[in-house]
């Protein structure tokens, strides 16, 4: 799981162009959206959906899942570990 989280952080930084940010700057449990976290926006969540499909073969077809899956890096990693196809 530790390796997955590290890779996921690198992929998120790259996909969202989080300039100057390193994996160590992202707290596993910090909220990805809203105050106190990365402050991502609605376009970013679409990019994260593409990231899941491209890198892990996961199609997030139910929008209602999104809020829980993208709550934090930790929740994303847990979802990936459980549902990844590649």
């Amino acid at each position: 799981m530790e390796e997955l989280i590290k890779n996921l952080k690198l992929q998120v930084i790259d996909a969202l162009n989080l300039e100057g940010m390193t994996p160590d700057d992202i707290d596993n449990d910090a909220p990805l959206f809203g105050d106190g976290g990365l402050g991502l926006d609605s376009i970013d969540v679409l990019e994260l959906i593409v990231l899941l499909e491209r890198n892990y073969g996961i199609k997030l077809s139910n929008p209602a899942q999104g809020k829980a899956v993208f709550a934090s890096i930790a929740t994303m990693a847990a979802y990936i570990a459980e549902n990844r196809k590649k």
């Binding site: 969202l16 162009n17 376009i43 491209r54």
Partner: protein, 201 residues
């Protein structure tokens, strides 16, 4: 109508009001350096395509964000529009690797650059983006004066912002205002400034 301030950005030089600005790097690195020196608190900059980075950096050289205002227009002219970003987006929709990028898609419209400049600076006046065959000072002046003819608009950020690659761009941007001193806002002056990529001795 006068030019209150003006700037010129090429991949290797930056000039503001006739004076060279010290920058590190060339091309995309130069734009990042302008961000660090003149913007610094707007991470959304790095999500933008090169045309928008160019426009936002140019506007930052001419004015700073303040209270929201409705009397400031933004008019940008270019030949290629967002073509550079379009080519990046096209790669994400190829048959071999079909993962359309939402963040690239949102920059595939020519007028996004005017929106990004306005949002960053809280300018709520008119915005217009024009795709024309090449730099045309007469067209820039005529369209801007037409915009400034309304009773609300008192100034305009306008000019040429061309981007043909992430490291290949060309900007002449001016702050044209009704009631400020400076150079005359006419085609002859814009043509002259367009040739100014360095500080005169």
């Amino acid at each position: 109508m006068r030019i209150a301030r003006w700037c010129r950005i090429t991949p290797s030089s930056v000039v503001v009001d006739g004076k060279a600005v010290s920058v590190e790097g060339t091309g995309s690195l130069l734009l990042k350096d302008l961000y660090r020196k003149f913007i610094g608190d707007y991470p959304k900059f790095f999500k933008m395509d090169t045309l928008c980075r160019l426009g936002v950096a140019g506007a930052a050289l001419l004015d700073s964000p303040g209270e929201p205002r409705e009397d400031r227009a933004v008019l940008i002219f270019s030949a290629s529009g967002p073509l550079c970003n379009d080519t990046h987006y096209q790669k994400t929709i190829s048959e071999e690797d079909y993962f359309p990028s939402p963040s690239l898609f949102v920059y595939t419209l020519a007028n996004i650059v005017t929106g990004e400049i306005s949002i960053r600076n809280h300018w709520k006046g008119d915005t217009s983006a024009f795709v024309i065959p090449g730099f045309d000072a007469g067209e820039i002046v005529a369209s801007t004066l037409s915009c400034l003819a309304d009773p609300v608009t008192r100034s305009a950020i306008c000019g040429w912002a061309e981007c043909s690659g992430d490291d290949s761009f060309d900007l002449l941007m001016v702050l044209a205002a009704r009631d400020e001193g400076g150079l005359p806002f006419d085609a002859e002056t814009l043509d002259y400034l367009y040739g100014r990529t360095y500080q005169e001795p």
